[in-house]
Amino acid sequence: MIRFENVTKVLGGNAVLDNISFEVGEGETFVIVGLSGAGKSVTLKHMIRLMQADAGNIVIEGEIINDLGRKALRELRAKFGVLFQGAALLQWMTVHENIALPLRELTHTPEDEILRLVDEKLELLGLADAGAKYPSDISGGMQKRAGLARAIIMSPKIILYDEPTSGLDPVTSRRIDDLIVNMRKKLGITSVVVTHDLHSALSIGSRIMMLHHGKIVENATPEGFIRSKDATVQSFLESQYITRKGKWEEFSHE
């Protein structure tokens, strides 16, 4: 579905992605973890051609996307729904208008149908009361959920989530996790999730890939990831109180 072949990207003199290759299969929930600045967001941006690789190929559904023309690019992007790290809602529109935007701008859906679809998404994401508010008047977590509603309104095949649960309370985080899982189970949607939250990564991911200094240090199933021998992965796991045995350990802080 999504394949990176020896992709390199240099930004500001640093190889942010250094010759990386990986593949995301159809219907997978592929999780990318890594420290801040590891290149996770950059990786996502390459999938939708918001950034272009300096070397290597990116293949989406069998098609190399490096040199797509305008029309092909539009078709490529129509396959994706994207939740940006900062939600990226338009500040001068209400939450409702933001979610309706792709429908209004790109389709001829009748207005009453738009209202119905948007209300359905608001309901699904627990935003029923926030529709009439502006992004600046709701919490960061609510903005995230509104961004997610916008990302799924066009029923994309692939959804990219850039830190969907960061800044959310644990209860809401688990709800978002459930949502991501349901998208795959019910609709067969392929997801790529960037997260810092290992608990969520382990519970929703079909594979987990860790980036470090522009390289892939691990790419495995959740079980395999926990058992990884790589020192970077180990310290990342330990930082979130997960050890190789896959059990919660009691860590004391004296």
Binding site: K45, L50, V82, F84, Q85, G86, A88, R104, E105
Partner: protein
């Protein structure tokens, strides 16, 4: 050698940016065919309103006082020869030909243009522009076109307003300070100011409107590097607009009056 290379690089960058800005302008212009479409209508009206209202107070004050200053300066000079009545034409011609479009342009660049650069810049750094691109909503249609229409339409209208107030300011000074009756002032003004002056002035205003939109939208959309970048984009948009307005204003005057 090194510095020659750097200058070369800067020139290339400048050409690249200019090309980019012109491409944006052309594309936004092509989208004007959608101006009354249901997707753009609302935003166009909003932008017209913002452009018209936002700077009205400043324009009023600046235009009035510029007219007053012009009248006073030239009037005091002319009084030495007993020709005070000529302030009518002195004020009217210089306001309609040059000062009106020029002042309106500078004020709009500083108020509306800087706001456009700041808004689009903020959108760029918070990935809202990227989000639009991913949704295949063309920013040149969605954001640039309505602003282009608003400024191209409002600049001439505001310039007429500036002209009227500037001439009015001159009349007030004539009446109160120089003993030139409003009637005599207006007669003198209409005798010397031509339609050509007015049309050339309005053409300038129209072109300044396009310049301001192009510069400020381009600076905004190109913004990187967070809040600092937004500040830089805003500042650059104002300075660049000022410079280009000056140069282009001069060229238009030359074109029509030599």
């Amino acid at each position: 050698m090194r510095s020659a290379q750097r200058t070369g690089g800067q020139v290339l960058q400048l050409l690249h940016d200019t090309g980019h800005a012109l491409f944006m302008l052309v594309e936004a212009t092509l989208f004007i065919r959608n101006v009354f479409g249901k997707r753009s209508r609302g935003e166009v009206i909003t932008q017209l309103f913002i452009t018209g209202i936002k700077s009205l107070a400043v324009i009023t004050v600046v235009a009035l006082f510029t007219g007053m200053i012009l009248a006073l300066q030239t009037g005091l000079e002319l009084r030495r020869y007993g020709q005070e009545v000529y302030i009518g034409s002195a004020v009217a011609v210089s306001v309609i030909r040059e000062m009106g479009p020029f002042m309106t342009g500078l004020i709009i660049a500083a108020s509306v243009g800087s706001a456009i650069a700041a808004q689009l810049g903020t959108m760029a750094v918070s990935e809202e522009i990227a989000a639009l691109e991913v949704m295949s909503i063309n920013p040149n249609r969605f954001l640039v076109m309505p602003r282009l229409v608003a400024l191209a339409v409002m600049m001439p209208i505001l310039t007429v307003y500036t002209n009227i107030l500037g001439i009015l300011g001159g009349a007030i000074v004539g009446e109160t300070q120089l003993g030139v009756s409003v009637q005599a002032y207006m007669d003198n003004a209409t005798e010397f100011a031509t339609n050509k002056d007015l049309y050339v002035g309005l053409l300038k205003a129209f072109i300044f409107g396009i310049i301001i939109t192009t510069v400020s939208c381009h600076q905004g959309l190109m913004t990187t590097e967070g809040a600092v970048g937004v500040g830089q984009a805003t500042r650059r948009s104002v300075i660049l607009s000022f410079l280009i307005i000056l140069i282009v204003g001069y060229m238009i005057t030359r074109l029509f009056y030599i």
